[in-house]
Symmetry: C2
Subunit: 210 residues, 2 copies
DNA sequence: ATTGACATACCAACCGGTATGTATGTTTAT
DNA sequence: ATAAACATACATACCGGTTGGTATGTCAAT
């Protein structure tokens, strides 16, 4: 075996090339939407050519699908799903996640990458719709699990419908993201965070006296 | 003045032509998004030619702007703003409006026309962003006014922040619309309606005993 | 007769996709 | 061990259909 088998910057590195295409594609799609973005702009940003793109992906649509499955899925995984699954105090963790939302105008104007693609593409191409739907479903399911676990440990009222509340949290969160994007207003996001946190705290059991 | 000045189907009817372009444009944009829709498809649906289109509008963007200002604005006006402004029982009217949401899968899969355009175009072209933002703002303002009036007449707790609650109602409503669109699920919309109505009812004052 | 309100025909550029060439690994037969 | 044979991973150049937009002609109303 030679000294450096794979760590040195090989000119041939399919994994790296694919990753660069995904990242560049994500950024361009985030800027201009999927239908509005230009493949050549993606290629320029990724520093590869069209041959490389069409070696790794069958079509522009296929690249979009991969962006959803790899990049967007990882974002929600890192920010929401993994912390919730690993948490011993799910309700507190959920609140911490929501409070961790970036509320500057810049981020607000960008919107939620998942929702951006979902709203633009759901009616246009079924592959996008199915994948965004799957991501939303997993997201809601994971929040619902967290709320159910919170109930089991007594930090959430037993009579609340965990699944309905999970759906509500995700919907309201995305709704605030949507409004804030159009208004380019971090303040709207801040208000949304406060509203959601306040709502979640209202679902805690009454402190028992005596 | 001649017998029939304008009521008979004149071959030359600029108002009607413009309206047909707006309606056809709205439908195509609702189907495929703004960037994805085809001008020729709009022309075919409207039954006019490209000359007519570019006589009434300077560009595709200008048509999109007019769709927002005329068609989309009228939809929210008819469904939300006018009923709220004319109501003597604003909280009940607000609830009735929300409960009037069509919750079949078909409507759910379409999403909210305003939000569709807002999410797709806000970062792409400032004219769209400004117009969707104006519509969202008017919407929220009108709900806030209704809630304030509800407070004045004692049907809403005095300590609630009417503006924050208005923002919340619109955001949550749009959020449910977004999720329901991706999931193609009228059931999600139904759940959202119930959740929102329940929330609004929780803001009513406690019934006074004695 | 002049202006508004269209229709027809056409253009030019963009852009997704392809055809083809080539350099770089990987396997296989000897 | 080594070279042939093959597969993978790109690069380059180009195509052609789509599509927003325009130039020009025509008809109707005042």
């Amino acid at each position: 075996m030679s000294i450096a088998t794979s760590e040195v910057t090989n000119r041939r590195d399919p994994g790296r090339t694919r990753q660069r295409l995904l990242m560049a594609g994500f950024e361009e799609v985030y800027r201009s939407g999927f239908q509005g973005c230009d493949l050549n702009a993606i290629l320029g940003k990724a520093g590869v050519t069209k041959g490389a793109l069409y070696h790794h992906f069958d079509s522009k649509d296929a690249l979009g699908h991969a962006i959803l499955e790899d990049v967007v899925a990882k974002i929600t995984d890192d920010k929401w799903l993994t912390p919730l699954r690993e948490s011993d105090t799910p309700l507190d963790t959920l609140i911490t996640i929501i409070e961790g939302t970036f509320t500057d105008d810049e981020h607000a104007a960008g919107g939620c990458p998942l929702n951006n693609l979902a709203q633009e593409m759901s009616r246009v191409e079924e592959g996008f719709r199915a994948r965004t739907a799957a991501l939303f479903t997993t997201w809601i399911d994971t929040v619902a699990d967290a709320l159910t676990r919170a109930q089991a440990q007594g930090s959430l009222r037993p009579e609340v419908d965990a699944r309905a509340q999970a759906q509500f949290v995700v919907a309201a969160y995305e709704g605030y993201m949507s409004i804030a994007k159009s208004l380019q207003s971090g303040a709207v996001l801040e208000a949304g965070v406060r509203q959601l946190v306040s709502h979640l705290n209202s679902l805690r059991p009454e402190p028992q006296n005596g």
